[in-house]
Each structure stands twice: as structure tokens, then as C-alpha cells.
Point group: C2
Chain length 402, copies 2
Amino acid sequence: MSSNEPPLGNALIGQSGGPTCVINQSLVGVIETCVGSDRVKNVYGALHGIQGVLEDNLIDLGRESKETLEAVAKTPCAALRSVRMKPTREQCEEALRAFQKNDIRYFFYVGGNDSAETAHILNEVAVAQNYDVRLFHVPKTIDNDLRVTDHCPGYGSAAKFVASAFMGDNQDNRSLNGIKIDVVMGRHAGWLTAASLLAREHEDDGPHLIYVPERAFDLDRFIGDVEDMHSKHGRCLVAVSEGIHGPNGELIVPSKEVDSHGNAQLSGSGALGDFLAAEIKTRLGSKLRVRADTFGYLQRSFAGYYSEVDAQEAREVGRRAARAATTGEVQHGSVYIARHDDAGKYRASFELTELKNVAKETRDMEEGFLRGDNDIDPSFLDYVRPLVGDLCSAARLSDFPR
Amino acid sequence: MSSNEPPLGNALIGQSGGPTCVINQSLVGVIETCVGSDRVKNVYGALHGIQGVLEDNLIDLGRESKETLEAVAKTPCAALRSVRMKPTREQCEEALRAFQKNDIRYFFYVGGNDSAETAHILNEVAVAQNYDVRLFHVPKTIDNDLRVTDHCPGYGSAAKFVASAFMGDNQDNRSLNGIKIDVVMGRHAGWLTAASLLAREHEDDGPHLIYVPERAFDLDRFIGDVEDMHSKHGRCLVAVSEGIHGPNGELIVPSKEVDSHGNAQLSGSGALGDFLAAEIKTRLGSKLRVRADTFGYLQRSFAGYYSEVDAQEAREVGRRAARAATTGEVQHGSVYIARHDDAGKYRASFELTELKNVAKETRDMEEGFLRGDNDIDPSFLDYVRPLVGDLCSAARLSDFPR
């Protein structure tokens, strides 16, 4: 990455893909840094991401009060509204013409790997046409599956939600015994599902089984696992990633709907959980109390419950991108988070990488974090705990004999 | 209700039915008050409610440290473990023999209307056999459908969860437009579903439609309502109670499973939401983005997120029951919460009523809280706000034109 004099002009921000609880922290981080830069004349927002660019649907973010911005930062889901759209090269050329028309010299795209890919193509188009616009990807995803970065803004808050949900549901399952399946978001990777491990405080606590997409899912083995755990504990709480699939990538419950990124619909339906619950009843006995919950959109949007660390980092990632752009540190890129150990204390730093390094592909969990094909290794707790921050603790009675 | 000298003997506590996030506050309220009473020799707990009484599965609660009790109070779901069991009169006679054997003179049953009914039958059996045991029902239910009381311990926390979930999901739906159905707990009454109204801050905020069991559900009308709202707002967020049914009480998606109380399984499955989503697609167009989430057990068990007012009241309800019992104020009864208006400020007082007044039947929402057949009246907000306490606010950008 070479650097050169940053141009004078307007900045534009867009948000894309599924929301997170802290995605607006990044938005506000970009806005406040751009507003404070002498290279930026106006700070605009594109409504519904790249679609807003193509439709010239822009708003003026520079006029927002500090109070509004701080309140928006604490509000979940894309304040600029989002979009699921993978623009073609022709559309990217059209977007570039919109940039030129509006004197856009800085473009920040808050999103996942598909958004990084969009920024990457936009950059190629801009370079080809010799138009100086600084293109930056600002990472976010509850799935935590972006490459290069240690973890993704949005993940810590979603992981905190999942951990708290399992902590409560473990108490529920212990209180009224039965077999309970909870389906957690995560199309390609098990990072979010793995966060359920935070709920396991006592030896017999659930989740007793954890299934992630990194391991091929086998229904017969699953039923056997559930039967074993139910025999052992008199109950069984299971964490299942929505993205689990067979050895050839085939989904357990085929989806009828595919989005413009070619992704099959997984969330927004209870189908997988209900299917697994029905299979357990059919095979292990219809008198068993078997229930399934699919956590759904709450994981990415629940208002008022988030990780403080995650919120701070999401803000800083936005600031870092805007600073890198407006100081000319690099001409394009994506921000990533590096993890440091300061005498046993977690610390993050915010670094830059090329757009192509983050675009397209996703990142699975590391092998060392997996334990067999139905559990997560305790070493994962060291990874996830600092990102989630303070969690309540589930207390038990001592059950003193009378 | 007459009063007489409270006997000297042991106290026993049980928890029954579906959990709440503050059910252990009531448990600890009873324990601490009993421990402090000179009429109580030992404080025991029955594991899994009346089942623990019948199986002589008792623990000693008097030996728990104050630290443990305070930690347990903050932990969701029955720390004594729960049960769904409606004992027969014969089983109640057996339970009374267990009381006599263990010198139980005070029995506190934390639960809903079925638990009040159990306490009521136990009381009849005790009176018939001339055994002096003071039987008390300590109310709890997220459904808020007990009679006599202004509201039920457990409801405020569940309502806070539902409100926060809808607040976030409204942002999600505004961010990525579509039709979204969220299914909320509540078998007989719409109290919890109605709490979704708290998420409606701006005129165009969802939930745009709210369906409760108090109104007969008509699928054709529902589809028409969704179509209208979708045309108006370009999106539609719908709150649906799991207990909605047709004019003759028939469920929309028949359940295969029935519990020992004769209740059909509603929760722990995404069937209703998925059915409604599929109907919308079939009738309004398969290209529509339609999603459904079923909030499930999180509403009653999510750890670390509750209403402070609810937690305090749940504690006080337990204390009040134990105080009434051990001072001989009444010989049996249930505690209810009365609402007072202290110069515009909400205040609760804790009163006593006969067991039979709370047993068996449930309480629907008042007509005045319903608005047509698909919405809740804003007057409901005055009812529910003090019970939920502080909620975060969902902020928007001003969308200043460029």
C-alpha cells in the first residue's frame, strides 16, 4: 500500500448486509472523524448502501447534532438502512460516475466480506478510470467470519446475547427437564454458536452438545449423542449452528429461498430446529419432552444489551478507517483488529490490510477451538471472554440434605 | 379470612410451572422471612414442586448463606427446579401425609393459577383432616394472566425483553425491508404480546400489527392487514401471540402434544410463525421477503436482563406471603399486587386474597386495552411502563437532505 496526498472533496458512507447491535458505532466513528478532517468538505450517507449510491439517494450526515449521533451509535441496526446487493462491474462503473458527479473522494462501506468485495471492485474501477476516490471497508458481522482480523465488530455483542440466552435456557432446562435444541446464527462458521460454551459453569451445565458448520453433520450420530447426554444428565441442551450441513455441504433442511448473493435463507424460520426436534421424538420416543428455539434476528438486533468492548472497538474501527483515508496513510483498505496481551490483560490495536485480503472468502474457526465433532474446546473461552466482557453468573442452591 | 395463633413447625417451599427471570426473588423473599420467624424451626425446599413433596425429595434451605441466596435471587428459572403437575385429590392427601411426617406447618407454592389450585386443594384436605398447615400461593407468571392482582411478578421482566426485542427488530426491519412476524408467548391472554407496543416510538415504527388471543384470529383478514401495512410503510412488522385461535378456540396450527394440565404445546416450536410466513408468501407473492421468529424460552429465562421493579416486587411478594403466614394474619391465601398512584408516581402494595380467587381461571386483557382486532390501545402504555422500568431508546438519523 502506497500513500499520497489525500484529495479535497466529499465523503460518503454506506452500510450493507445483516445488521449488528454496534454497527452504528462504526458509522458514527467515520462521521466524527470525517467531520474533523480538513480534507472533507461534506459527509454524506447513502441510504441502503450501494443501492442508494446508484439511485442518488444520499443524505447529509454533517448536519447531525452530536447528541443525535451518540444516540444513534447506541441503537442497533443500520441507521443508514442496509441492502443485500452484490453489484456487477457495470453497476460499480455507474456508482463511480455517481461519485464523480457528487465529488465523492472518500467512500466507507460498513459490512462483511461481500461489502469488502464491492469496495474492492469499486477501487479497481476507480483506478482504471484514474479517478481519485479512497475506498475503505469497515468490518462488521456477528458471524465473526472475516479473514485477517482477530475478531469482527458486532461479534462480541452477539456472543454476549447467545451466552446469556444459553445461561438462562440451561437454568430453564435444569428446572423443567427435557431435550432442548437452540439454533444459533452462523452460515459458514461456528463462532457465534461456540459462544454458547460461556454458559457452561458447572460440570453438568448445558449446552451439553455444540454443533458447528466446521464439522460435517450426521443425523444418526447426532441422535446418538443426544441419547447419551440425556441418559447421563436426565436432560440435554444442544447448541446448533443454522449452517450445519452434511459432508458435501448439503443443508439439513433445504431452503427454498436464495438471496442475491446466492445464499440460501437460513434465518427467519424455525425449520431446522423443528426438524431436529421431530427426528429426536421419532427415534427416541414420542413421550420425551423435546423443544426447539431458533434465536433468530434477536442475536443481531436486540436493543439495549451489548458488549461494551465491542461497542468501543466498533467505534474505533470506524475512526481508524476515516483517519487512514483522510491522512493519506493508505489509499484503500480494510481495518482489522489485532489482539495483544498486556501482562495478561487483553488489548486491541486497529490495523490496515488490503481490500482483497478480506473480500469474498470467509474464515472458519481454528481446529484447536473444536473438540471432537460435537463440542468446543475450553481454550476458546480465553479467545471469546474479553470480547463479550462482563456476564452475569448463574447461581445454584447448595442442595443441603435435610 | 380469620386469623389465629400460628403454629410452631417447619416451612416448605416449592416452585411450579414455567419459569420467570425473577422467580427466585420470590423464593428468597420467602426463605429470608421464614428464617427470621420464631414460628419456623426449619426451612425446607421441595425439589420439582409437588413432585418433590410426594417423593420426599426435600433440601434444607436454612443452611444457605446470604451470599448464595442473593446470587440465586438474580438467577433466572426455578432454583428449586420446577414441575408441570396437577395433583389429584388422592395425591394431595398423600402430600398432606408428607407434611405431617415432616412437621410442615407452612407451605408456600410459587407458581401460576394451576399452583394456586394445588394449594387450594391441599388446604381443603388439611382442613378436612384437621391438620394445621398454612398454605400460601406466591404468584408468578410471564403471562400476567392471574386474577385479582394488578399484574404478576415475572411479567415486567418478560415485557422488557419483548419490548427490547421489538425495538431492535423494528430497526432490523427498517434497515432491511420486508415482512417480519414475531411470535410471542401467551397461551390465553395477550399481555406479553401487547408489550411490543413499547417499541413504537415513531409514527411508522413497528409493530404495525398486534394479534392477541382475546380476539378471534381470521387468516384472510390477517393477510389483508399485512398487505395494507406493507403498502403503506414498504415493510411490516407483526406481533403475534402464540395463543391466537379461531372463533371457536381452534388453534391456527394444531399441536400434537398436550401436557398434564391439558394444555397443548405452543412454545418450543417455530410452527405458527413459519405457517403464517408461508401463507403470506403463497397469497401475496413468493418474491416478498417474509421472515418469522419465535421468541421462545428466552422470554422467560434470558439471563442478566430484567426489570428492576419486577425483581423488587417479586421479592416483596415472597416476603409478604411468609409474613402473613408466620404472623397468623391469615391461615391461607395468595398475595396480589395493588397499584396506586402517588401524585402521578407508580406505587405497589402487597395484599392478600383467598386461594380460590386466583385458582383455575385466567384473566384476559381488558377491552379498553384492545384496539380493533389487530392493535393495542396506547392507554396500555400507562399500565405497562412502570412495570418494565427503564428502556433504551431507538434513535434515528434526521435524514437531512443533501
